[in-house]
Each structure stands twice: as structure tokens, then as C-alpha cells.
């Protein structure tokens, strides 16, 4: 049974959650988890982190620690019954997990606000039809088939356009941050 940690630990923990949640959720998505399942797994990882807080080194990197917990949860997900898997494709997740352990990610990342601000600036640089496509996909949460229906194009065309937009945004964001994402 875990000991009940004093309130000051909870305050500290909450501040760590706010600081690292963006990176944690992006990392989980980067393991090939379905977008709708990312927050569930991130919550599970943070609850586990809270329960195991006594094991966390005081001068350790909380962000990296909790991502490692999430990494194990995703690996467990791969071993579960696949009747309703939360992964996009199991074999791709295997590979992404392996690649992430090889690179092990940066220890210091830009603050979420900075990343989001940079991303917003890059969105502004897109041509109008590109911004509209991103708006439909992410802000209205339409799937490519629904966008295709609205715009009178094929789903494949919409998906390919979205891929080009994402690549352009990735180049822009990484160029401004001076570091690679993920």
C-alpha cells in the first residue's frame, strides 16, 4: 500500500504534470497510438507515476521518467488482446518503440507554450487553402473522407495534401525551434 504523500508533493506533482503533459502526450502519439487513446494512456502513466513517486530520484528528469512509464504501457498494449487495439498498427509500434529507445530523446525540450506558439506562427505562413485544410482536419475534427465530401475531391487527394502540409509544418517548426521534434 503506497504511503500518502504530503500536500506539497501533490503541488509539485501537479506542476510537473502541467510542464510535461504536452511532451508526454506527443511521445505517446509518436509510439503509433491512435489519437483518441493518447490521453487515456497519458492519464494511466501519470497515475502510475504518482503511485511510484517514492521511486523517483529527487534530481531526476520527471518528463523522461514518465515517458518511460508510458512506453512500458504502450508495449503492454501491444501484448494485449488485439480485438480492440489502441494502436494504429502493432508492427509499426514495435519499430517506433525500438527506434525511440535507440535515440532516447532530448533531455531538455522547449516549453509547450513555445512549441505551440511556433506552430501557430508556421500555420500562419501556410497558403489560405492549406490553413483551411488544417482547420477542417484539426479544429473541426473532420476525417479526410468528410473533408473530401465537402470540397468535392477524393479522400486520397485530401490525405496526400494533408501529408504535404504536415511535412511543410514540420520543417517550419523544427527550423524555428532549432531542434527536431520527437
Amino acid at each position: 500500500m503506497r504511503d500518502f504523500l504530503p500536500q506539497r508533493d501533490r503541488v509539485w506533482f501537479t506542476s510537473q504534470v502541467r510542464q510535461h503533459q504536452s511532451c508526454l502526450r506527443a511521445s505517446i502519439r509518436g509510439f503509433g497510438v491512435q489519437a483518441e487513446a493518447v490521453d487515456d494512456i497519458a492519464q494511466d502513466a501519470l497515475v502510475l507515476a504518482w503511485e511510484k513517486l517514492a521511486e523517483f530520484e529527487p534530481d531526476g528528469d520527471f518528463g523522461r521518467w514518465v515517458i518511460q512509464i508510458a512506453r512500458r504501457l504502450v508495449a503492454n498494449e501491444r501484448r494485449k488482446d488485439t480485438r480492440r487495439s489502441r494502436l494504429l498498427a502493432g508492427e509499426v509500434t514495435d519499430l517506433l518503440l525500438r527506434l525511440s529507445s535507440e535515440t532516447d530523446g532530448p533531455t531538455v525540450r522547449a516549453e509547450r507554450n513555445e512549441e505551440v506558439a511556433v506552430l501557430r506562427a508556421c500555420l500562419e505562413e501556410l497558403p489560405a487553402h492549406g490553413r483551411e485544410m488544417i482547420r477542417l482536419r484539426y479544429f473541426e475534427d473532420l476525417v479526410p473522407g468528410a473533408i473530401a465530401g465537402r470540397l468535392g475531391r477524393s479522400s486520397d487527394t485530401v490525405r496526400q495534401f494533408l501529408l504535404r502540409l504536415r511535412r511543410a509544418l514540420l520543417e517550419c517548426v523544427e527550423g524555428r525551434l532549432g531542434a527536431k521534434l520527437g
Binding site: R2, R10, F13, G32, A35, V143, L169
Partner: protein, 550 residues
């Protein structure tokens, strides 16, 4: 990578990023990345960018962190109670009681596990944006006594409706230690670590001495005591009612105590332990100044049942629920006096304030989720309710409480448009228990999940969203079958429909009979998609009450 290989990789990658991978896309991506690890890093960075784009689109950037805080609060509360209960079980002793009355202790271990499980179950359901599905009873601002090792938790509230305790006489959240309590309004269901269940109706003043002893100064209660908690005692002024493995009610009326034994038998003892008489099932007595008089109590409904709470809670909840302006129709399955063949729509939100009343054909009124709640029984070919749902929709949600006896056909209809034209809606169960909402679109992918069980009340929700090109079904608040479509021309137009059956179709290849075999006691349609938290709340608000309300 050659040009055509690059195009093939991009096609697979774009489907993967948009959550729509085809069966061969995974192996194709792995093969390409194996040849060039730079591609693997690119996939990871694109997924990362996708996550950032989703976060950028979130209206409240603190919502995720807040949801984590809510869940930690709830987890902590559950752990603290479990820890306290464990301490109690390790330290408790009963040296002053006969040995046969200590048999509850092993049972209490199981009870503790069950209680902890029940609480954990409630906690595990809390997700971003959700409030606690089981709010604690309200009390005034004076803080209640905090449970300690010397004053441990002996009971918890497992259910309540509209409960309000007096200032300074309230439990700590849902936890009772030894002490005096005053219930000013509502009904509470209390579960003791001994295994006894006690349901108290307001107004009531009662005391909890320990896991086996309560006092009653005002009000009425019902005690449901398993054999393992034999000896559970309710004490009133000058009298003890000692359970011998049974179910009984005690009420205070002026200077008199009333007892009714529903099952088993109860000993009446004076406060110094002298046994006066033994009352058996079906008997009632009045006690005044130590005198016991046999009587015939007429108003036994004043002794509340656990499922009394469920029904009252649901009745309170639906009064506000049915005001939701996005409800297209809402059938709580309450028979209309003098017109039993009408299934009344209680929403009245159709254009012009019209009600989409249904016409009952064959189906019969029977008991629903709780005693006193009605349902319709569909157990013969042709039993159904006809409803007409006009209008065109891009999004629809449907919800029903269903108790299935059997699945007789390949497809068993919960709610089906009469036809199978463009825009028709068909919500059905397969024989295997899979449940899906079918609309006439080009099916791209089916994701299976939780199945629908027989012989228990099950909450089902189906959501159709043409903008997401998907339909999804939820079983007891959890995701089940999901259908994704490559395209869907037009709008959803349910039109003339049947609850519990399908109009037999002349098409020879269709499945001619689709009638369900079982009961339905609530059904609603919204003109929007329900969020997952809302679906969970609907399930919590309407689920039958445990332990004896199941």
C-alpha cells in the same frame, strides 16, 4: 527510394497518420523503415506534430492537467478508504460477544475487497471533463470528524438520492465512523464492513456504534443482513432488535418502535440482554415502554429498499435530463393512464413543440430496472413500437436500457428505420452479441469491442457522425463496435421506425425477422453526438442499484 515506392510509402503513411490504415499498411511501413531508418524518425516526428496540432486545437489548454488532478483525487480517496478499512480489519476484535457472532470477520475481509473494488470501479471511470459520478451527500460547512486509526471507518454510503445531513452530524464524504448522524432529507444506502446493508429514509437520527451495532432515535430503516453478519443489532429507546440472519425494518413513531420482519427472524432484547420474544418472517410488532404487541403494519413501503434509491434517483435525474433541447425524442417508458398502447415522448422538442409519441404494437408492459419502473416486453414475432422521427441530421445519438433474454436471429433490432433507403438508421445486435449502428455508406473498417450480455440490464448508446464518417456503439459506457465509412452521401433520415423490430422487407436476401427478445425501459434520440463522459454519466444515472437491486 524509387518514385513509385515513395508514392506507395506516402499513401500508406497518410492513411496511418489519419487513423485509417489498411491491413497492408503496417507491414509496408515497417519494410520501408527497415531499409531506411531516417523514414522511421520522420514517421515519429510527423506523429509528434500531429499531436501538437491536436493540442493547438484544444479550446482549454489546462483541461488535460485538470482531468489528471481530478483522477488523482479520486484514486487517493479510494486508496485512503481501503487502507483505513484494512487497518480496521486487522485491529478489530469482539471480546464481549458470543463466539457465534464473530463469524462476520472472514466475511468482512471479502466485503472489504468488494467495497474497495466498488470504489475503484467508480474511480476508474473518471476521465477528462467528468465530474464524480457518485456525488457525496451534502452537509453544511462544519468539517466532519476525520477517520483515524482510533476512530476508523465502519461503513460507507454506496448510494443515495438527494441526501442532506445536519451540520456536525454528517459523514466524512461517504465514510462513517462511530458517531451520531442526522439525515435531514433523502434516502441513503449504507454498507457496513460487517457486510450488513442498511437503507435509511429521512428525516432520521441514528447512531453508529461499531460495524455490528446501530441506534435509531427517529425515522425508518431497513437492514439486510447476510448470515455472516448474524447478530447485527438495531437499538431504539429501551429495546434491541437482534438480527439472526435476515431482513427487517425498524421505525420510530412517537414513543413507539415498530418492527417488521421481511425474512428470517429477529430477537427482541431489553438493554440488559434479556430476550423478550422472537419475531419471524411476515410478522410486525409495536414496542412501547418495554411492552411488545403484535400488530399488522400497513405501510411497509416506509422501509426503503436499495433499489428505492435507484428509482427515486432516476426520477429526479430525468426531470432535468428531458429538458435537453437537443433531444429529438425521449421515452422513459411510463404507461399512460387509460391509454396503454401509447409510448409517450417526454421531450416534446420536435418542431413546433410536437411530441413524437410511439404506438405500441404487441409489446406488453412489465417490470423494468426497479420495482415500480415499467418496461415493455418484446417476446413474440411482431412485437414492436412504431415511432416516426422526421428531419435530416448530420449527427445522431441513440440510447437505450435493454434486458435481453435471447438473440433469436442473425440480426436483432433495437431501433430500425422501416426501409433501407439512403439515410436510414439500423441499430441491431448480432447473434454473437456484437452491436452496431448501420447506415447506408461505403464501409471501410469495422473495429470490434465489448459485446452485449444476456440476462442483465445493459445500457447501449449508438452515435452516428457523418463528419467523422463513423458510427460507434457504447456498452455500459465503454466503447464497443465502431464502423468507419469511406464515404457517406446525403443525410441521416430515420423517418418511420420501429423499436424492437424491423418492418419485414420484401427483398429476398434480407433477414426477414429481426425482433428482439427481452425488455426495453428507456430510449432517447439526440440530434448531436454525445461525448464519452456524457455517455458514462447516462450509464451511472440509470444503472440498477446494487446489491439487491441488480
Amino acid at each position: 527510394m524509387l518514385g513509385n515506392e515513395s508514392e506507395s510509402f506516402d499513401a500508406a503513411l497518410s492513411r496511418f497518420l489519419d487513423g485509417e490504415p489498411e491491413p497492408g499498411d503496417g507491414p509496408a511501413l515497417v519494410a520501408a523503415i527497415d531499409q531506411d531508418h531516417v523514414l522511421g524518425a520522420q514517421v515519429r516526428r510527423l506523429l509528434w506534430l500531429d499531436a501538437l496540432l491536436r493540442q493547438t486545437a484544444e479550446p482549454d489548454s489546462d483541461a488535460f492537467a485538470d482531468a489528471v488532478g481530478t483522477r488523482l483525487d479520486a484514486e487517493s480517496d479510494s486508496d485512503r478508504f481501503t487502507a483505513t478499512l484494512s487497518e480496521r480489519l486487522q485491529t478489530i476484535s469482539a471480546p464481549d460477544r458470543p463466539s457465534h457472532r464473530r463469524r462476520w470477520i472472514p466475511w468482512a475481509v471479502a466485503s472489504a475487497i468488494c467495497l474497495a473494488f466498488a470504489i475503484a470501479l467508480g474511480v476508474a471511470t473518471i476521465r477528462p471533463g467528468a465530474s464524480n459520478p457518485e456525488p457525496s451527500p451534502r452537509a453544511e460547512s462544519v468539517p466532519p470528524p476525520t477517520p483515524t486509526v482510533s476512530n476508523p471507518v465502519v461503513a460507507i454510503i454506496v448510494n443515495e438520492v438527494d441526501a442532506r445531513f445536519a451540520t456536525g452530524a454528517a459523514p466524512d464524504g461517504n465514510r462513517f465512523t462511530s458517531g451520531e448522524y442526522q439525515l435531514q432529507s433523502g434516502v441513503v444506502h449504507i454498507q457496513f464492513v460487517s457486510g450488513a446493508d442498511v437503507v435509511v429514509r429521512s428525516p432520521a437520527r441514528f447512531g453508529i456504534l461499531d460495524p455490528m451495532h446501530v441506534t435509531l432515535a427517529e425515522g425508518a430503516l431497513r437492514a439486510i443482513v447476510p448470515g455472516s453478519a448474524q447478530g447485527f443489532t438495531v437499538q431504539t429507546a429501551g429495546m434491541r432488535f437482534v438480527d439472526l440472519g435476515t431482513e427487517f425494518g425498524v421505525a420510530i413513531s412517537g414513543r413507539e418502535s415498530h418492527l417488521h420482519v421481511f425474512e428470517g427472524h429477529v430477537d427482541l432484547e431489553t438493554l440488559d440482554g434479556r430476550r423478550l420474544s422472537s419475531i419471524t418472517a411476515g410478522q410486525s410488532v409495536r414496542v412501547n415502554d418495554g411492552k411488545v404487541v403484535g400488530t399488522d403494519l400497513s405501510n411497509l413501503e416506509r422501509f426503503p429498499l436499495p433499489n428505492t434509491i435507484g428509482l427515486e434517483k432516476w426520477n429526479t435525474w430525468r426531470q432535468s435530463f428531458q429538458k435537453d433541447p437537443t433531444l429529438v425524442c425521449y421515452y422513459p417508458f411510463l404507461p399512460e393512464t387509460g391509454n396503454p398502447s401509447v409510448l409517450k415522448d417526454h421531450a416534446g422538442h420536435a418542431p413546433g413543440g410536437a411530441r413524437l409519441d410511439g404506438r405500441i404494437e404487441g409489446a406488453r408492459w412489465v417490470t423494468g430496472r426497479w420495482p415500480g419502473k415499467s418496461a415493455l416486453l418484446f417476446d413474440r414475432d411482431g412485437d414492436h413500437v412504431r415511432v416516426s422521427v422526421p428531419g435530416e441530421y448530420r449527427r445522431l445519438s441513440l440510447a437505450a436500457w435493454v434486458y435481453l433474454d435471447r438473440r433469436d436471429y442473425e440480426l436483432n433490432a433495437i431501433f430500425d428505420s422501416d426501409g433501407w433507403q439512403q439515410g436510414a438508421v439500423h441499430w441491431q445486435l448480432k447473434r454473437c452479441g456484437d452491436c452496431s449502428l448501420g447506415v447506408l455508406g461505403k464501409l471501410q473498417r469495422r473495429v470490434s469491442g465489448k459485446r452485449v450480455s444476456l440476462n442483465q440490464w445493459v445500457h447501449l448508446v449508438a452515435v452516428a457522425d457523418l463528419d467523422r464518417l463513423s458510427t460507434q456503439v457504447f456498452v455500459n459506457g465503454e466503447p464497443a463496435e465502431e464502423l468507419r465509412f469511406a464515404a457517406f452521401p446525403g443525410m441521416l433520415t430515420p423517418g418511420d421506425c420501429r423499436i424492437g423490430d424491423w418492418l419485414r422487407h420484401p427483398e429476398p436476401t434480407s433477414i426477414p425477422r429481426r425482433g428482439i427478445r427481452g425488455r426495453i425501459d428507456e430510449f432517447a434520440i439526440w440530434s448531436r453526438t454525445l461525448a464519452r463522459d456524457e455517455i458514462r454519466k447516462l450509464f451511472v444515472a440509470g444503472r440498477p442499484t446494487s446489491p439487491s437491486g441488480d
